[in-house]
């Protein structure tokens, strides 16, 4: 139920994100989802890719600073209030979110939300109990 996420440290400098993605392109790594957290000096590029360990290897070879962490992916109907329902479940159980990002899956009329709660196991538990559609890693990688 947990998904591997790649986090890349990037200086806030011209071309740094391009450099990282260029490495992945050359290695034939396709991106499933992406988000960037930025400050004025640096950013953290977060990626969901089908082969996180291989992606990490090719990036590290090029000197990038990488961490692999875990996140949760939840499928929601692509309609108003879809995300709110998920947030409601977490809120009721007092589970704090560090961050989230979402993308729409075009042909299925579904959106996928990537969630990073402070406590990932508790997060999965309450989401499932609340009836959320928690996706497996394979489901997301094979999208």
């Amino acid at each position: 139920m947990k998904l591997k996420q790649l986090s890349i440290f990037l200086e806030n400098r011209k071309g740094r994100m391009w450099n990282a993605l260029d490495v992945l392109e050359k290695a034939g790594v396709n991106l499933r989802a992406l988000s960037i957290a930025d400050t004025s000096e640096f950013g953290i590029l977060r990626l969901i890719v089908p082969e996180p360990d291989r992606a990490r290897e090719v990036l590290e070879e090029k000197g990038f600073l990488i961490k692999i962490g875990e996140v949760i992916a939840v499928g929601i109907p692509d309609q108003p209030g879809g995300l709110n329902k998920i947030l409601g479940i977490l809120d009721k159980s007092s589970i704090n979110l560090d961050y989230l990002y979402a993308f729409v899956e075009q042909n299925k009329n579904r959106a996928i939300v990537i969630l990073h709660p402070e406590d990932i196991d508790a997060g999965i538990e309450v989401l499932k109990a609340g009836g959320a559609d928690v996706l497996t890693a394979e489901e997301v990688y094979s999208l």
Binding site: S7, F9, A37, T39, E41, F42, G63, F64, L65, K67
Partner: protein, 434 residues
């Protein structure tokens, strides 16, 4: 082990007697053979006969690097040029290089001092010394070489650079002693890690570091990377080169070979002599140098003296590690700061790689200090708030060390320049014009 027990373990009384004899003699030689010293003494109204005690050395005016530059190239020599068998120049870290000339006797003393120093860190005739100090005008390479040969150790005179070859030789030749600058040592350690070579699999037993200042924190970093003890080597081209002082296994300061060099500590501003234990600028007088005697040479190096018998058995005075140079001191908003203070604060953070750069700017009317630090896997967190927290923590540690607010920037690994010789730590972008 002690190379020259008679000289290194002398009683203070005997040593002072020897020092005075030698001082009187070298003052006379300098006065009679170096026009610069004749003029200096005459202008100050001092005569060689006025030196009746060691304390009388204070009557002699200082010699500075500027004086040596003005005497360029051979104006400081006390012997005819044909008696000079080797020439070196300083690295020119702080400007135009200065020339140093050696007679055969001087090279003998140099070898003796370095042999004592290398013995101090445990080198014997069975060792294989990989000398990464450059062979050339820089004194580092030759100083180590002469000392090692005097001991009878095997020297690999590889000089700096060719990092792949350094690693290969270290493995194939079974190097037991590595002589390196702290910056190049760090670089080598990184390259080893990249090649997945475990330092513990090498035959290294000791690393000697010279040519640039480093902190105790940097020593700990280097020791943890190399898995062997790391020792400090002190020297400067003007006086001789490496071998003026070295650390023994007690690591409580560097023993100065006082039978050849007479150390004093002065207040760099008032030029007054300071008592033992007080911090100030090191002033050195060569007691035995033939080719180029130097009297009261201002080294610009900031340290303090510690007397008394060391646990190792030597009675030689010790200098504390050099904590800065009176000329690499930065004046930031009127506060005097040495890069070593910043290094000390930075290396208190676990996982921080000892690569940093200090950038001084003056965007408006006030000086700003930016410290660029390389992020490392240990420091990197997926959470922005944690990364900002680390940055704040570093800023606070530096603030408490130097008393000024600084801005810390985390940069990507391996993006700060690596140095093969002396690292450039400070980039001062302030407009120096008035």
């Amino acid at each position: 082990m002690i190379w020259n027990e008679e000289k290194e373990c002398m009683s203070q009384e005997d040593r002072e007697k020897l020092q005075l004899e030698r001082l009187q003699s070298i003052v006379k030689v300098a006065y009679e053979n170096v026009p610069y010293y004749k003029k200096l003494f005459n202008d100050a109204g001092v005569k060689p006969e006025d030196i009746q005690s060691l304390k009388d050395i204070e009557k002699i005016p200082f010699t500075t690097k500027t004086d040596l530059r003005e005497a360029y190239p051979f104006g400081m020599f006390a012997v005819p040029r044909r008696e000079i068998v080797e020439l070196h120049t300083s690295s020119g870290t702080t400007g135009k290089p200065t020339v140093s000339g050696y007679t055969k006797g001087d090279l003998e003393i140099w070898s003796e001092c370095m042999a004592r120093g290398l013995t101090m860190v445990g080198v014997t005739e069975d060792d294989v010394i990989q000398n990464t100090h450059g062979y050339g005008l820089f004194t580092g390479g030759f100083g180590v070489h002469y000392g090692a040969q005097k001991i009878g150790a095997t020297v690999i005179p590889i000089s700096t650079g060719q990092t792949k070859r350094q690693m290969e030789i270290m493995q194939d030749f079974g190097t037991t002693v590595l002589i390196v600058t702290p910056s190049y040592g760090l670089y080598l350690a990184e390259e080893f890690a990249d090649e997945d070579i475990d330092m513990e699999d090498l035959d290294l037993k000791v690393v000697g570091f010279g040519a640039e200042g480093w902190t105790q924190e940097m020593r700990e970093k280097l020791e943890s990377k190399f898995h062997v003890p790391a020792y400090n080597i002190y020297g400067l081209t003007e006086i001789m080169g490496p071998g003026i002082g070295l650390e023994c296994h007690v690591k409580d300061g560097l023993h100065i070979f006082e039978d050849h060099f007479y150390p004093e500590i002065i207040d760099p501003k008032t030029h007054e002599n300071l008592p033992d234990g007080e911090k100030g600028e090191l002033v050195l007088t060569t007691l035995t140098r033939e080719g180029m005697p130097l009297l009261r040479f201002r080294t610009k190096d900031i340290t303090r003296l510690k007397r008394g018998k060391c646990e190792c058995g030597r009675t030689l005075v010790r200098i504390e590690r050099i904590t800065g140079r009176s000329d690499d001191m930065m004046k930031i908003r009127g506060v005097s700061i040495f890069p070593s203070q910043i290094e000390k604060a930075l290396l208190k953070i676990d996982g921080l790689e000892p690569h940093y750069q200090i950038i001084v700017t003056r965007p408006g009317h006030l000086d700003e200090l930016e410290i660029q630090v390389e992020a490392s896997p240990e420091l990197f967190s997926d959470e922005v708030k944690e990364l900002v927290g680390i940055k704040k923590k570093i800023e606070e540690l530096v603030h408490s060390e130097i008393g000024l607010r600084v801005n810390v920037t985390l940069v990507e690994p391996r993006t700060l320049p690596r140095s093969l010789g002396k690292a450039v730590r400070v980039i001062d972008k302030r407009d120096v014009g008035i």
